[in-house]
């Protein structure tokens, strides 16, 4: 049995989904597009139930990908029941989507969620009356207190088992002229349609009158020449309606739906005169204040980075110590030799040097989720839109760009909230310049080694440089490659909410799982490959008598290995930007995942080092690297080709190999040029 959850953004849909499925959820993608698809399997009332969380949308008009995904799922996958989560404190707007669901002729239940908030605002809703007027079962729920969810699920299961009946009152009524046109077109459809065409004739008629591009396209594909007759008829009717109303039919119909909803609201909702205390508005008086808005915004971003790096430093040390202990313990168990070297210096050192960043990454994702769940993210877009607009972007682009500090992959996926394709591509192309958390280990190691006391400032500067590059390239692309109108900034500023700990935890758990999977998979394999390449072919060295000699031998081995040869081969490319063959190899391996840059350096420089970071720092200092070349390398790491996973995400999200290749070429070129300017410029100035 499959139950789909639909609803407006901010209607509490995610909370209900989390309450129903708990941690038994799978996060994946909708087929063909990379809109996140969440599902959970539960067993209740003697049924195996799959709950599918549809993307949150305000309507089913196919403008954004989310809306298309949600509608296609209901139309083509035929879930047994659709539950529409309605924000009861915001009934009127939420009923718009609800009405579109009613028109779809699927089995639907309305859940009036956040019933407690509505009550505290002095709103009384007559659910029985609403149910009667709309011909749909209506229940009250309070998602964050788990109230009414059992009843909701029970009602959904019962409805799924009963036959589909569409009561007469479920037909949305339009004005006489529109209704006549619908009937007329419906008759034509029934007469000419291919019996295989899957959609209800009345609904199809409504959509064709609204000039729905997707339905028109489906009709063309599936109904052949008879489709042309129908489309021609729809065209004639649209023309007639446009003339009559002196406006486009879809506008008139949207208007009429709201008119219908206003009528329903009058009958079912009464608001007492009690003056409502609107906390949200008071908070906004401060947070989007003319003078305080920006300082507070900057403070939040600053606090986020502080928390990520200073708070994260403690568990980082514990994990570092744990890895060191493990490496010592395993090293003691195994006999000397290649196998021990593989385990200790290849696998444990490789994965260990990256896993210590788990706390940083979790804290960063926690902060971003906190911004989203409280509703502050929308305010950030509100504050930033003017600035983003100046650089040719949409205020909403700010959100993916901010997430880019965490990880480019979800950030690029988040760009789908932008409606215009050009805005999306532009945002996707510049988001990788927002320095992701995987690059941070590289900065920490390099800045920590060469800029000791000023490391924090240098890292902040690198981040800032990435932002500037994003702005400059954004402006450039906008004027050269992706010209055109920007999408409207019609956006809801949802009321502030206290975030639910459970939602935050589930979100963090998802991210941690992804990170650990990456550790166990690509990074482990990458570490082994790099170890192998740097240890073969074997290079005969005299037996090491002192620790110094052992280090020397290891370095000789690395230099004469496969990876050493590759590094030497590409060294001329990197020499002008102050990076030696070992750095070159590290950068090459960084394409797999940016964290690997550090572990490769660990293997190549600190051949004696194990996982402890001190060893790498000492080795780096001895290697002839200067602060200037370290800076050059950091800039290169900031700007060059994002990791494999990001390139994959860019390819999927833009749906274009051309843009993907462009991104690879562009980022590499820019990285090299910028590092060149910094390194050679720095040398000229005598650093």
């Amino acid at each position: 049995m499959r139950i789909a959850l639909a609803g407006n953004p901010n209607s509490g849909k995610t909370t209900i989904f989390n309450s129903l499925t708990g941690t038994r959820q799978k996060v994946g993608n909708w087929p063909g597009v990379t809109v996140e698809k969440k599902e959970g399997d539960i067993r209740k009332f003697g049924h195996d139930i799959k709950i599918i969380d549809l993307p949150g949308t305000y309507s089913l008009t196919p403008f954004s990908i989310e809306e298309i995904v949600a509608r296609d799922f209901i139309l083509d996958e035929n879930p047994d029941v659709v539950i529409d989560i309605i924000d009861a404190s915001n009934l009127e707007r939420n009923l718009y989507l609800a009405n579109q669901l009613r028109e779809l002729d699927c089995k639907v239940i309305f859940a009036l969620n956040m019933a407690d908030v509505a009550r505290s605002r002095g709103l009384k809703i007559d659910a029985a009356k609403l149910s009667e007027l709309l011909g749909v079962p209506v229940l009250f729920t309070v998602g964050n207190k788990n109230e009414g969810l059992d009843d909701l699920l029970k009602a959904a299961v019962d409805l799924a088992k009963s036959p589909l009946v569409i009561p007469e009152e479920r037909k949305v009524r339009y004005s006489k002229e529109i209704d006549a046109a619908i009937k007329d077109l419906k008759a034509t459809i029934q007469q000419h349609i291919d019996p295989a065409f899957p959609y209800n004739p009345r609904w199809t008629a409504v959509k064709l009158l609204e000039d729905d591009k997707i339905i028109k396209q489906r009709l063309n594909e599936k109904s052949g020449p008879s489709g042309q007759v129908i489309l021609a008829k729809a065209g004639v009717l649209r023309g007639r309606l446009s003339k009559f109303f002196n406006d486009d039919p879809e506008i008139v119909m949207t208007d009429e739906r709201y008119g219908f909803i206003a009528g329903i609201i009058k009958e079912v909702q009464s608001s007492s005169t009690r003056q409502r205390v609107d906390m949200s508005r008071n908070i906004d008086l401060v947070l989007t204040n003319r003078f305080l808005g920006f300082p507070i915004f900057i403070f939040f971003i600053w606090a986020m980075f502080q928390a990520t790096f200073t708070l994260g430093a403690f568990p980082m040390e514990w994990i570092d110590a744990g890895v060191g202990y493990l490496s010592g313990f395993v090293g003691g168990l195994l006999p000397e030799g290649l196998f021990k070297d593989l385990i200790v210096n290849g696998m444990i050192a490789g994965v260990g040097s990256i896993i210590i960043f788990l706390p940083n990454i979790l804290i960063l994702f926690f902060c971003i989720a906190l911004f989203e769940d409280t509703g502050y993210m929308a305010r950030a877009a509100f504050l930033m839109d003017k600035i983003m607009h100046l650089i040719g972007l949409h205020g909403k682009s700010f959100i993916p760009m901010l997430m880019g500090f965490g990880c480019s992959v979800p950030a690029i996926i988040a760009a789908r909230s932008l409606e215009s394709r050009k805005d999306r591509i532009l945002t996707i192309l510049i988001t990788p310049f927002m320095s992701c958390s995987a690059r941070l280990p590289v900065y920490i190691v390099l800045a920590g080694t060469f800029f000791a006391a000023q490391a924090g400032t240098v890292i902040f500067g690198i981040y800032l440089f990435g932002i500037v590059m994003a702005i400059v390239t954004g402006r450039l692309f906008r004027t050269v490659l992706l010209r055109g109108e920007d999408a409207p900034f019609v956006m809801e500023l949802p009321p502030y909410r206290v975030p639910m700990v459970k939602n935050l935890m589930i979100h963090m758990w998802d991210r941690a799982k992804m990170f650990l999977k990456k550790m166990g998979g690509i990074i482990l394999v990458g570490s082994i490959i790099i170890w192998t390449l740097s240890n073969f072919p074997r290079y005969e060295t005299p037996k090491a008598l002192t620790p110094e000699m052992a280090v020397q031998n290891a370095a000789l081995q690395a230099e004469n290995s496969c990876i050493g040869k590759v590094g030497k081969f590409i060294e001329p490319v990197f020499a002008p930007i102050g990076i030696d063959w070992r750095g070159s190899v590290a950068l090459l391996t960084g394409f797999v995942a940016k964290e690997i840059v550090v572990s490769t350096m660990g293997v190549l420089y600190a051949a004696d080092g194990g996982a402890e970071s001190d060893a790498l720092q000492n080795a780096l200092r001895k290697s002839g690297m200067t602060p200037l070349s370290a800076l050059s390398m950091m800039i290169f790491v900031l700007l060059y080709v994002p990791c494999l996973a990001t390139v994959g995400a860019i390819n999927r999200e833009t749906g274009s190999v051309k843009w993907t290749l462009f991104n690879i070429a562009f980022t590499s070129g820019v990285a090299w040029m910028m590092s060149f300017v910094v390194y050679q410029g720095g040398r000229l100035m005598g650093f």
Binding site: N90, E92, E250, I251, T254, F382, D385, V490, L493
Partner: protein, 79 residues
């Protein structure tokens, strides 16, 4: 008058929504329909976008988008 000419704190009623079809539809779907009461909550610190209250929802839109919406102000500006 145009919505973009309204001051912070003013109320009014939407008379007509113009502009390109996609924008109009989006505006309508967010609940800004003909005849609905609006209240200008505030302008963003950089004077763009602006925040409206319509049917109890807070909606933001850019000044040039608001310029496509004709309103009938309930009270003269500056009161």
């Amino acid at each position: 008058m145009r919505l973009s000419d309204m001051q912070k704190g003013q109320t009014g009623k939407i008379v007509r929504i113009g502009g390109e079809i996609k924008l109009r539809r989006r505006i309508l779907e967010m609940g800004l329909t003909r005849g609905s009461e609006i209240y200008v909550e505030k302008y963003a610190p950089l004077k763009d976008p602006l925040e409206l209250v319509v049917r109890g929802n807070h909606i933001s839109l850019r000044v040039n988008e608001a310029a496509e919406i004709d309103v009938e102000a309930a009270e003269p500006a500056g009161v």
